[in-house]
Symmetry: C2
Subunit: 662 residues, 2 copies
Amino acid sequence: MTDQTAAPRDMANAIRALAMDAVQQADSGHPGMPMGMADVATVLFSKFLKFDASEPNWPDRDRFILSAGHGSMLLYSLLHLTGYADMTLDELKKFRQLGARTAGHPEYGHASGIETTTGPLGQGLGNSVGFALAERALSERFGRDIVDHFTYVIAGDGCLMEGVGQEAITLAGHLGLGRLIVLFDDNGISIDGPTSLSTSEDHKKRFAAAGWHVLSVDGHDAEAVTRAIRKARNVTDKPSLIACKTVIGYGAPTKAGTAATHGSPLGKDEIAGARAKLGWNHGPFDIPEAIFSAWRKIGARGKSARRKWNKNLAAMAPEDRAEFDRRQKGDLPPAVGEAIAAFKAKLASDKPSWATRKSSQEALEVINPVLPDTIGGSADLTGSNNTKTATLKGASRTDTAGRYIYYGIREHAMAAAMNGMALHGGVIPYGGTFMVFTDYCRPSIRLSALMGVRVIYVMTHDSIGLGEDGPTHQPVEHLPALRAIPNLQVLRPADAIETAECWQIALEAKHVPSVLALTRQNLPTVRGAGDENLCAKGAYILAGDESAPIRLIASGSEVQLALAARDLLAQEGKAAAVVSMPSWELFAAQDDSYRTKVMGGDGTVRVACEAATGFGWERWLGSKGAFVGMKGFGASAKASDLYKHFGITAEAIAEAVRRLAQ
Amino acid sequence: MTDQTAAPRDMANAIRALAMDAVQQADSGHPGMPMGMADVATVLFSKFLKFDASEPNWPDRDRFILSAGHGSMLLYSLLHLTGYADMTLDELKKFRQLGARTAGHPEYGHASGIETTTGPLGQGLGNSVGFALAERALSERFGRDIVDHFTYVIAGDGCLMEGVGQEAITLAGHLGLGRLIVLFDDNGISIDGPTSLSTSEDHKKRFAAAGWHVLSVDGHDAEAVTRAIRKARNVTDKPSLIACKTVIGYGAPTKAGTAATHGSPLGKDEIAGARAKLGWNHGPFDIPEAIFSAWRKIGARGKSARRKWNKNLAAMAPEDRAEFDRRQKGDLPPAVGEAIAAFKAKLASDKPSWATRKSSQEALEVINPVLPDTIGGSADLTGSNNTKTATLKGASRTDTAGRYIYYGIREHAMAAAMNGMALHGGVIPYGGTFMVFTDYCRPSIRLSALMGVRVIYVMTHDSIGLGEDGPTHQPVEHLPALRAIPNLQVLRPADAIETAECWQIALEAKHVPSVLALTRQNLPTVRGAGDENLCAKGAYILAGDESAPIRLIASGSEVQLALAARDLLAQEGKAAAVVSMPSWELFAAQDDSYRTKVMGGDGTVRVACEAATGFGWERWLGSKGAFVGMKGFGASAKASDLYKHFGITAEAIAEAVRRLAQ
């Protein structure tokens, strides 16, 4: 299918040249990987990848994930050569400069064709599990006429060494994701030198042990790569690994095959030598017209498939079409808001004493039936995280329509896969583990925030309130550590009504990931209903009024303590208002006057209480403030004993007020 | 070797009964795993494990690591039965209660015989790599007469699914840790149900692919387990996996083999049924004398080996003996302090403009030769983290004396292994990666802090100052996120002299882990030398004096900006003192008067500057404070462009002062 006027090797050399030149010009970057994988990428793009450079967001395009993100110039070169409008030559020349689309590592949103942000190794591989899962779920719903694409990944040694990569491998193998094809850049080199310094893994056996279809080829033999990809596409019940034996920095006369090409410019002499060796007699950034034109044809190759797809789309039943469009846009059906409103009204009447994890499940029981977009799951804590609702069935190799993923004890791959699902579009992923294990998936949570994708983390057992499992399982620093991540909503509701509101906030935030911090232990209902989503303001006066000279501020399970402390103080004639503060981020986004109303002006006595360390609370306390909470790690005991032991009580809050109000 | 009066099955049933009873009494806990692995553990302890319950800290004991920490009652039962003095029956009865040694998960330091804190899955397996590495390194140094022991691990499905476990497996296989033997509790059950819900891994093939010696047995066949462990001990160039097919909750009449035994008490009826089924006709916590006595003999079995070892110790050359004792105690040789003092004096004279990562390497160049305890390494960033000094050789399967570990792209296993080394004793581990990848190993950093072990994290590229690699590689929230972890020293030195001081602090902190946050970019020398370690106070006045009404507070690479801002302000007649603040934790530990001297009293204008988000800085700013730093994620560009772009400049600091001082 490639243009006869340009040999595949020349087309690959165009990638090599652009990668060498851009890295040299930036005086920074990683030329080795693009040069090594240029042949493989040329085969993939020219013969298999379904895409149309003029419509980068065509929903049924194949996804191409550069998990080895340091090789970003491979991707940028391909996007430029195939004709993505925003990837101009000028952008390549501005590689790694401020404001360029061509950041050091591929950044989602900087340019079309960048399907995900990669660089932290193993993440792209983890994302790809989510891409493939989303594709499978959507094709079950909308049919193969509408959703029918592959997910291709280029992964390096680092992706396979990282734990998140390993978790992704075993998860993908288990789920039988046949439309996932990983091209492993098996170059035997990492930054420190030959990979023999640090690993003795037999990668092919490893993937086979995880249930993958495994192939290996010479990554510089275009015909062999073609045959391998073709075989991989034909195996539909297993993901495929194609181990591509390559030479890193292929073409560099003295540095090829060494770590010297990995993360530094080659240098002028070496580049000149590479040009000679590759027979590439063209200046920096100069691509001969024949080669450029052949690449542009590849960029347009998908047009006919896209036209056919458009016809399929037009032929859909109107209600299916509307549903497909809605899910692509990521809008919620109106039924969601209605269901949550009705649920809140019922809760206000029932006043249940549920753990907020249970409240979360009950909220999901009303959401999931009217929001088919959700794909739930848990990292082997389904019954503890309360993430599975009555109508959700488990997904598996054979039940490909299931909307619930048993992720196993793989928090990191769960989070990375959820990023992939959210990026794919058409689905809304949520997944649970214990709050303390946010640490196990923190790199992926960070990427959710950096990319701005709607992933919902259901993090239960959110404090010492989990009791006997002890300090290894009790988050104490996790609330501040998560609040410290930019563009992440941390939501810690105080009862069933707030939990429903927080779910609504999380679902409506198209471009922000959310962490729901939920209790193991039961909590009383403290809120009335009402149409307004009070949690959406981040904090609000729950009891008392703004004239009170004292504010008792709390979130989640400690709101009940603040309310009890208010009663204690009232007996002493001290008027306090209780502020429920489920989200710092949302409160910080309110205007000054609202914030002052809620927190009181200068001189207001403010005592905050959370069963977590107070790191960062000074921000809200002002000059007459105190914090009641944890000072270090927790302990193993009954929750009620621990609250007393660590002095997190209504009396301690009242006493702090007395000291400040003296 | 077991006592003839008690059958192995009865001895194992003693464990089962104690586990059932303690969990039932606590009304909380995990009986299934101890019941399933009781037979395997009985074989291990009765026939192989080298230990003496009367001397739990005998340096040459075999190490037993319960990686599946939720099965803590297995360990507590064994410690009680074999006669560890502090593991009384009363402690078992107080399982999971406040103040008991028998926490929900094994907590290092709570009782002797608990070699490490486990519970977060995969961590014990990661630790075990460090234990085995430390053993190998020390036996190279002191000979097999003195250091000659095995590391045994019990791991569950969760340990093998977790990324950290997978990283540990490939690392151990690569390093050929022949004295590491993992007993895998292959019970096919996780919390969510059968493991077939979430994994299709062929574990034996997976370990084989990583270079392990692999065996499998019926875990309830004591003879088969005996033969397998014997074989495993004889393979000395590969770690061994023994997959033990077991029935979780073995003996429970209706629940055995199901997830119902995993994490909940069995209930009275089920326990009665189990007693009947197992033929265990004894009351709760009641162990017949014959069985108890047989277990106690096992606890004393190691006495003769220990006596022999004591003779070997006595026969050592005096200087070797002194060195061995010093390293066991974890004391530093006086030469370390002297070398650092001399190095500081030289730096004060040379005033180098080094990146602090380079300063760290130069400090290590003087430390490593006089401190043979160190075992360095990096997660595939050796040349970037500057962790390898001239005299360190890489450790490998064949070079077992090497003091440098090429950890590969396995940050999490690196950290977990370092915890294991520190716990083993006799060595001081340090290891490097990029600061942003503290997220990749955060669960292990947390455990370093929770256990209070001397692990030194060399985290370079600590801000946007790393430049072009962009936001995925630029830490912005990591300083606050690490400072939020209790009992962790975060040290961010401003120049070569402070870096040397921070290394000294880290090395001298026997019971606190340290994170060194180091720059990629060059920094001027801002400090003079002098004998005192000024960084040890956490913050100090670097320029100006305490009478100044303005404080400019900074750490690391931003101290130079504070100094420049001071000059700008001086031109306007405003007197400011610059506070270098390498460590919040150490400063918080100073007395009030010192803190007031450094920060000034109420009303002092304080402007802090760090190339990180300001999360938490309100703590130090008081009523007239401002922070100059990051507000969100970074970007890909030259470091100098980024500092300007994000407004982190001397002028911005001066301007913040002007606004506050109006």
